[in-house]
């Protein structure tokens, strides 16, 4: 399943569809990282608003993807998490550690800019 990836001023935006198999997840990860590298993206926003269920496996995969992207020099933000999904993750004790989140796409893009600005300031200091 090839993910649709949009590019907006150097920031890549993609949405995860619902009902992903482990295979799909692995493919997605690969595709996203390849796209990040190919486009030399400054940021990647992953919209998860279609996901009705986020179990520990998928949560870990998302975290991994973010870590990998950051190693490639790209900031990552996850947006659109459903309230019931957030609640379930918290109850399971599976909070997405180390991932920046936003309520929606607008917030996601703004967060990317903020993260990039922060990174630049850190480099300057």
């Amino acid at each position: 399943m090839r993910p649709a990836i949009l590019a907006l001023k150097g920031v890549l935006v993609t949405a995860l569809p619902d009902e992903l198999t482990d295979h799909d997840i692995a493919e997605f990860q690969g595709e996203m990282l390849r796209a990040v590298e190919r486009r030399r993206a400054r940021g990647l926003v992953v919209d998860i608003s279609a996901l009705e269920i986020l179990d520990t496996y998928l949560a870990r995969s998302i975290c991994e993807t973010a870590e990998m992207a950051r190693l490639l020099g790209t900031e990552v933000v996850v947006c659109g998490m459903r309230p019931a999904v957030a609640l379930t993750l918290v109850e399971m004790g599976q909070e997405l550690v180390g991932i920046e989140t936003a309520l929606d796409l607008d917030g996601g893009l703004a967060a990317i800019e903020e993260l990039i600005a922060r990174r630049t300031r850190a480099l300057v200091d």
Partner: protein, 137 residues
């Protein structure tokens, strides 16, 4: 009244949890509860695929006049879980494997029982709500 889902391929994880969500919805559980049950089923059936290769999942409406109850049993004939007490208590929140899914699942449901030994593992969970408890969603 019980629905059986063989867990053999990855797609069966999705199938089983969809059934679970649908059953919970039909019985009158709120959307947060539907998500909890579907997530728990996802964890358990995924463990089956990853660690035992194959197994089965049974979903049953065990409600009575006082309570809504959905019972889900996930069974396999895999290698079993060594040191299950530690796995459940551990709350391996940074891990991705068996421990994280199992202890997480336990926190989502009201009833949780596990039997495991080499060659057989059965996890029995139930989502239970009093009929008079209403949810905002």
């Amino acid at each position: 009244m019980a629905q059986h889902v063989p867990i053999v391929r990855e797609h069966d994880i999705i199938h089983a949890r969809k059934l679970g969500r649908e059953m919970a919805r039909a019985l009158g559980f709120g959307s947060a509860d539907q998500t909890r049950l579907a997530t728990a089923i996802s964890e358990l059936t995924r463990n089956v695929i990853h660690y035992a290769g194959e197994g089965e999942c049974t979903l049953e409406d065990a409600s009575d006049e006082l309570r809504l109850r959905v019972v889900v049993v996930v069974r396999d004939h895999g290698p079993g879980i060594a040191d299950v007490e530690r796995v459940l208590a551990g709350g391996f929140s940074t891990g991705r494997g068996l421990g994280a899914g199992l202890s997480g699942t336990q926190r989502l449901v009201q009833e949780f029982a596990i039997t495991t030994r080499p060659g057989f593992t059965e996890v029995r969970i139930a989502l239970v709500r009093g009929r008079t408890e209403r949810r905002a969603t």
